[in-house]
């Protein structure tokens, strides 16, 4: 048990524990806040993996925006029924079984690959992950098209969401 592994296991336990709470908590607002905890754990993992840009973006986008939107939605709809009655379906054991089967299958697959047992090599000397990400996103022979298409996707989402949320007024 080296220090590295403990540093990995702490956020991993946070993520899995919070994720379980997200799916079993009865109160929806608590589920949303547990989601925040799980997402924060993922941000810690990104920091461990030396993807610092993704770590902060995870906090800014997921906790600062997506979680806030979830909480707003919970507060807007809560009135009648949210926390009353059963929160899960009566046949909840079926998805549980399915999830377990998928997990067992994936774990077997992963363990079966000896290449996945290797620890990581050090980052190449002089690699600035942040700047290379910027270069990759804008240089024409790399990912400039996905970069622009992501913008179009978000535009479509905004137009669609605004249209749906307000109904066709005109």
């Amino acid at each position: 048990m080296t220090v590295d592994r403990i540093i990995f296991l702490v956020p991993a336990a946070l993520i899995l524990g919070s994720a379980v709470m997200v799916v079993i908590t009865r109160k929806l607002i608590h589920a949303a806040l547990w989601l925040v905890a799980a997402l924060f754990g993922v941000a810690i993992l990104y920091a461990i993996l030396q993807a610092s840009f993704l770590a902060v973006v995870q906090v800014v986008v997921y906790i600062g925006a997506i979680a806030i939107l979830f909480i707003f939605a919970v507060m807007l709809t809560r009135r009648e029924m949210l926390d009353k009655g059963a929160q899960t379906r009566s046949n909840w054991w079926l998805p549980a079984l399915l999830g377990l089967l998928i997990l067992v299958g994936l774990v077997f697959l992963i363990i079966g690959q000896p290449a996945f047992g290797q620890p990581a090599a050090a980052l190449p000397a002089g690699l600035d992950a942040l700047r290379s990400l910027g270069t990759a996103l804008v240089s024409p022979d790399a990912f400039v098209l996905p970069f622009e298409v992501a913008s179009v996707l978000l535009l479509a989402a905004l137009v669609g969401a605004v249209y749906i949320a307000t109904g066709n007024k005109e």
Binding site: I29, S52, V56, V60, G64, A65, A67, I68
Partner: protein
């Protein structure tokens, strides 16, 4: 004198050798030294926070032609300590129906989201927490935690006013985050880096406040909105929703919200200094001259930085105590229809000019940037004036159609 030039490394080097002498592994030594260093930094921030209570009360008193606290200690300096003792021994009331855990989490998160900002605040070129290469976004991420603290506190109180205040505050904070993030891109472009140390170094010749005064203005406005201070203090609007999201908080928990707000304001003063006024440096090249080389000393830099941060804090207070609160619809309209488009225009302008003017000599670059900002500012004011004139006209003689509706 190594201590006077580089105090943090001097002390940490001394402690490192001391702890190695005890036979501890090097990883543990690093953690222990970080722990001690962070504790000292956070304690400094908290003591400063106590002092800020006094500053705030004294300054508001002067603005309102009063004396302010002047009974306990010289100039009332002991007053904040008396306040703290009072807050600690007050009964802590948790209202019925409150969500106990979240109710306690709110104030803790509120102050933690401010304290973690001090990890990246460059107090001087040698005294700072870390030089993160994503520091600018880290500032936004900490703001996200602050938003969360308010919504958690407001929701857990189980009170109509608290929830209303939290809703308003969050709508306000998230809206003004957009111009803030856009404007944060401008120092990033100008310094070609997101690290606050690099941004400070890039301003040793010329402040970014000169290169892009509009960006400074937009950042100041959105920072005040992010802080939830007047004229954007809809979260606590005493005359409408009593005290907003912290209505049910008593004793020390209320004190934590209050302390968090003051420290947040000061910290944002510090970030305004770092991003636009050269932080601990920015002497326009003076420090390179022989007689002014003492400006490079760590302690001098720290004093300069704290003075600039205090000035930023003072400006925020000045605005707070001179402006009336604006209505929530006006506030959101102002953000989405004015500030956000303007910030995007300034961003595009900066990006284009930083490319086009890069061939010019230093003064041409500065002049071009400054003039372009002036032109954008002038056009903006003209558009606003034309809009205002139109508005007044329709109000003076309303068309019959309007009356029917």
């Amino acid at each position: 004198m190594p201590f006077l030039n580089d105090p943090v490394n001097f002390i940490s080097g001394w402690m490192r050798s001391l702890l190695f002498g005890w036979g501890l592994p090097s990883g543990l030594v690093t953690v222990i030294i970080y722990f001690i260093g962070i504790t000292v930094l956070v304690m400094f921030a908290m003591v400063l926070d106590i002092f800020l209570v006094w500053v705030e009360r004294k300054v508001v008193a002067r603005f309102q032609d009063r004396l302010g606290p002047n009974r306990i200690g010289p100039f009332g300096l002991i007053q904040p300590f008396a306040d703290i003792i009072k807050l600690v021994i007050k009964e802590d009331i948790t209202p019925t129906g409150a969500d106990k855990l979240l109710f306690n989490l709110g104030p803790v998160l509120a102050i933690a989201s401010v304290i973690i900002l001090w990890a990246i605040l460059p107090i001087s070129s040698k005294i700072f927490g870390v030089d993160l290469n994503v520091a600018v976004l880290y500032l936004v991420a900490a703001g996200a935690l602050g938003t969360l603290s308010i919504i958690v506190g407001g929701w857990a109180s189980n009170n109509k006013y608290a929830l209303l205040g939290a809703f308003r505050m969050v709508a306000n904070m998230v809206s003004y985050e957009i111009p803030m993030v856009v404007v944060l891109l401008i120092p990033t472009i100008l310094a070609n880096s997101m690290s606050v140390q690099d941004i400070t170094q890039a301003q040793s010749g010329m402040w970014f406040a000169v290169l892009s005064p509009l960006a400074l203005l937009i950042f100041l406005i959105s920072a005040i909105a992010e802080l939830g201070r007047s004229p954007f203090d809809l979260n606590e609007a005493e005359s409408e929703i009593v005290a907003g999201f912290h209505i049910e908080y008593t004793g020390m928990k209320f004190g934590l919200f209050y302390a968090g707000e003051l420290l947040h304001a000061f910290t944002f003063g510090g970030f305004i200094a770092v991003l636009f006024f050269g932080g601990y440096g920015g002497f326009f090249g003076l420090e390179k001259l022989g007689i002014f080389s003492w400006l490079n000393n760590s302690f001098v830099q720290a004093v300069v930085f704290l003075a600039k941060a205090m000035f930023g804090y003072w400006v925020i207070m000045w605005i707070k105590y001179s402006m009336p609160r604006i209505r929530i619809d006006h506030m959101l309209t102002f953000n989405w229809k004015f500030l956000t488009p303007l910030s995007l225009v300034v961003l595009v302008n900066t990006a284009v000019l930083s490319k086009v003017l890069s061939g010019l000599p230093g003064w041409g670059y500065v002049l071009g940037m400054f003039l372009s900002n002036l032109i954008i500012g002038y056009i903006t004011v003209e558009i606003l004036r034309a809009y205002g004139r139109k508005q007044r006209k329709t109000e003076a003689n309303p068309s019959p159609q309007r009356l029917q509706n």
